[in-house]
Symmetry: C2
Subunit: 154 residues, 2 copies
DNA sequence: GCTTGTTAGTTACAAAAACAACTAATATCT
DNA sequence: AGATATTAGTTGTTTTTGTAACTAACAAGC
């Protein structure tokens, strides 16, 4: 009756618990202070970090479905954190770029993210952190793809 | 402008991506085959693994809010995977235990979980797996609690 | 030019999650 | 005993997500 299989050893469970705990703790920096949802923060991050992008590009980089991006962009636009600009060559694409306020929010949250990350990793040795991050990347399929395909390949 | 901070290095992001990828891949074993939601699978697991429990106990062990447990239990009951039994000493508590069908589903999914876990961990060295799991436990707050408290302490 | 196909992004509707308010049973305090 | 507080679990309402269908712009074939 599988008497020695502990849920605490099951990777999807552990990953989920760790992701939830850290995600919930970090939320306050974008949710409490700016009323943003996680997808909004991710979109903001990509625009802040990589400059003007289209919605599609953000979706691909952040691995988020286009409908979520669409709504996140609309929300960020309403908060005056970004503006849209139709591209003349192809009017289907729209170039998104952050406003001053958007850039300020990005810088602020980004700094918080760094501190937050440092705070977690400080509990471990550099060696452990390196292993942790590399394993996570592999599992997430961000590097070598060894896992069964997910549905999120939008 | 934080030009060297990559989202791929930010732990909450990495954790979330890894959790989503692995969770999505494992879903098929409980969702496709049994039409269960993740919370249902977790509740089933706890009952299969630890014997009869009350809804509250499951919630505490699995770190899930009581409303989600309540609905998961109702769904499992409807699927004839468990039965309820009011306790006479305190009629507020109800003891939940799996039916034959529930036990069968548990055994089946559990075996799949083992295989799934083995498949992921096979990519890494035993040393790496040990580090990974211990770091995740720490971050999840399942052992030493070093992180800011989360809202989920129901 | 006109059909057919594709692509970027939006919208509408259904499923699931979050949160708050509730009921019923028991415990506590006086 | 009777008022008040707690506790286990449920229900209802609001957000957020997932999914599919849609619009508008462009591309290709003929």
């Amino acid at each position: 009756m599988d008497t020695d299989f502990e849920l605490q050893d099951f990777l999807p469970y552990l990953l989920n618990q760790a992701a939830e705990a850290s995600g919930l703790a970090f939320q306050k920096h974008y949710k409490e202070r700016y009323g943003m949802l996680r997808t909004e923060w991710r979109a903001l991050f990509h625009l802040g970090r990589y400059g003007a992008l289209t919605a599609k590009e953000i979706g691909q980089m952040a691995r988020v479905h286009k409908t979520k991006i669409s709504r996140a962009v609309a929300a960020l636009e309403q908060k005056r954190f970004l503006t849209r600009q139709q591209m003349t060559q192809d009017r289907r694409h729209e170039n998104l770029h952050l406003t001053k306020a958007g850039q300020a929010a990005f810088a602020d949250i980004c700094a918080a993210a760094r501190r937050f990350d440092d705070q977690i990793t400080a509990q471990f040795t550099p060696q452990e952190v390196a292993t942790l991050k590399s394993c996570l990347s592999r599992i997430a399929g961000l590097e070598t793809r060894n896992l069964p395909k997910t549905k999120n390949s939008n």
